[in-house]
């Protein structure tokens, strides 16, 4: 038995995984450091094989609204961008959350604010998990730390999005998007037929058949009493996601005196740091949130009376650290170490920060 292993960039893995998963439509606009996604799709020309639509839109705004149109038809529709472009998509994401439409959005983050830099960053954490667009809504957020997870999370993202009728995001960054690694791409699945979409998504606007009322996809409800009910329905759904869909990875946490908490590329750096620390006799574990929303609060709380302190490591000025602090609720010290503006810390940098901020205290 031979496994089909490829060597490719994280961005390319997303594109190949989308074709293989049976995605119906990709709509995007070029921006560094993620343009390989649309370039790979255009090169692969899946409209000739699976029938997948690939379209370069006139803007990020148009692209996310094309995703809205496709998702409203029950189709697997996706887009990708990087931080400044994802800011433009926030309107559409809020509308899709309000209209309860499933889709996949990929954010290959770069440093901001503004036009910022094209180098990697994790500074869109707040934008992603705390809102971004207007209104009370949540975005299912997956944070891959390898090219393999870039490929795997395309399918996982769509599964969760359709299970809960809610947008999902792969929140990654320029490191994971640009680095090349071995990857085993998912098996080819055929795209769903219109009939299958009708059965799986009875709400989809595929044309009104005589056996049902018109399907109307909207986020509008002028009657406040009904709008409150809609919001309560969304919140109940969010609680269900928080109950059932939390994902995280624990590395050497069993005997740890200290915990590093990091996601995505920062977690890759930390996995080296814990080896270095343990050689020096400091027992450190790594807890890597894979879903950033729903956030792994329970497991973090569990560690609050098992470790002496936590250091969160992020490529930002301290965003996820707030959720870690909420999770441990003041029981142990939680410090933050981050580099800004596209600078990626070395494992050494993290080790020094761990000693200064957490171990010596």
């Amino acid at each position: 038995m031979s496994e089909e292993i490829s060597l490719m960039k994280g961005n390319e893995a997303i594109a190949h995984a989308a074709i293989r998963y049976g995605v119906d439509g990709y709509f995007g606009y070029p921006i560094t450091p993620q343009s390989e996604i649309i370039e790979t799709l255009m090169e692969q020309a899946p409209w000739k094989t699976t029938g997948m639509v690939v379209l370069q839109a006139e803007s990020e705004v148009a692209a996310i609204n094309m995703v809205y149109g496709g998702a409203a038809c029950g189709k697997y529709a996706m887009t990708s961008s990087s931080s400044p472009g994802v800011s433009l998509k926030q309107e559409g994401i809020s509308y899709m959350a309000g209209a309860e439409l499933p889709c996949l959005i990929v954010n290959v983050q770069r440093g901001g604010p503004g036009l910022g830099t094209i180098q990697p960053s994790q500074a869109d954490y707040f934008q992603t998990v705390k809102g971004g667009g207007h209104g009370d809504y949540k975005l299912i957020t997956l944070a891959p730390d390898s090219v393999q997870e870039m490929a795997d999370f395309v399918g996982l993202g769509f599964e969760l999005a359709f299970k809960y009728r809610n947008p999902a995001m792969i929140l990654t960054d320029g490191v994971i998007g640009q680095m090349m690694e071995k990857v085993k791409l998912p098996e080819f699945r055929r795209r769903r037929t219109d009939q299958e979409v009708r059965e799986q998504c009875p709400w989809a606007t595929l044309g009104k058949t005589p056996d049902r009322k018109p399907n109307i996809i909207t986020s509008l409800e002028l009657d406040s009493a009904r709008m409150e009910k809609n919001n309560e329905r969304f919140q109940a759904k969010y609680r269900l996601v928080e109950e059932n869909e939390v994902l995280y990875e624990e590395v050497k946490c069993d005997d740890a005196d200290y915990l590093l908490v990091a996601f995505g590329s920062a977690a890759r750096i930390c996995s080296k740091t814990i080896e270095m620390a343990r050689k020096e006799g400091i027992k450190v574990g790594l807890l890597r949130p894979i879903t950033l929303w729903p956030f792994p609060s329970k497991i973090l709380h569990h560690y609050a009376d098992r470790v002496k302190g936590i250091l969160t490591v992020e490529l930002n000025a301290g965003q996820m650290v707030e959720d870690v602090r909420l999770a441990v609720n003041g029981e142990i010290p939680v410090e933050h170490y981050g580099r800004l503006g596209g600078i990626v810390p070395t494992p050494d940098n993290v080790l020094n920060a761990l000693k200064e901020k957490t171990v010596q205290k």
Binding site: A62, N65, G70, G207, K208
Partner: protein
């Protein structure tokens, strides 16, 4: 005596289109929207497209268009209807996809989406209601507001030096290779309604035949926003709107 006693079958020469439901319309008396809705319902029915049609509603007075025609609808964010329609038509190429948009939606906030969908020659129909004013939000200036026209955000009349000129966006769209039909109509007389029906039917036929983008601009009244009676609004439209937005085909291939 009730209505059914008067409307006996032998007296019935006209009926509400089957696709229109009994929901009360929120449009003001005298507004052009109701007539255009009715025409669209009639055309979809006569073309047998009820099961194949997906409508995209705008933000503006027609935001609730989906309440009145019994077809599948998507409600777009302000100005984004052509982007939604692009994806729907490409993912479901055998369906009839149309957008229904006002002047603020199509020619201000949605200009990019409109121009680029048309430039790609998306096989969709765009029904464009141009009444020169923002009706839903209470009568503010639109991109199509005439020079010197009074609105709540141009209370001394539209000063074109300060506020820009009336945007003849259909003229711009007619220049694009992706566009097969760019035509202006109105619905203020029976003859005008008949021509609007012909043009909307042609737009829907073009969309199904894959000929490119069709835009039917219906030059309309907003008697509430214009602060006129419906009859005076019709006269005002003929006198003032038609010289700037002349009725007829700009492109029909």
């Amino acid at each position: 005596m009730n209505a059914n006693d008067i409307i006996s079958p032998e007296n019935l020469v006209y009926a509400k289109p089957g696709l229109m439901n009994d929901n009360y319309m929120h449009y003001c008396p005298g507004c052009s929207h109701g007539v255009v809705h009715k025409v669209i319902a009639e055309v979809i029915k006569e073309m047998g497209l009820q099961e194949k049609t997906i409508g995209i509603a705008p933000v503006g007075c027609a935001v609730f268009a989906y309440n009145y025609l019994d077809i599948d609808w998507q409600e777009a964010a302000h100005g984004r209807a052509p982007a939604l329609a692009t994806a729907v038509k490409r993912l479901l190429p055998d369906r009839m996809v149309f957008t229904y948009q006002g002047d603020g939606d199509l020619a201000a906030i949605g200009t990019a989406e409109t121009i680029h969908a048309a430039n790609r020659g998306e096989n969709i129909a765009i029904i464009f209601i141009n009444n020169g004013i923002y009706g839903m939000t209470g009568g503010q200036m639109a991109p199509t507001t005439l020079s010197n026209m009074v609105t709540s955000t141009s209370p001394d009349g539209r000063n074109v030096q300060m506020m820009g000129n009336p945007l003849k966006i259909l003229d711009m769209l007619a220049l694009l290779d992706g566009v097969c039909l760019a035509t202006r109509t109105s619905v203020h007389t029976a003859a005008a309604v008949k021509r609007t029906r012909r043009m909307i039917r042609l737009a829907f036929e073009n969309a199904m035949a894959g000929k490119g983008t069709s835009i039917v601009e219906v030059v309309s009244t907003c008697n509430a926003g214009w602060k006129m009676t419906p009859a005076a609004a019709n006269d005002w439209m003929v006198e003032n709107m038609f010289p700037v937005y002349p009725i007829g085909d700009l492109k029909n291939i």
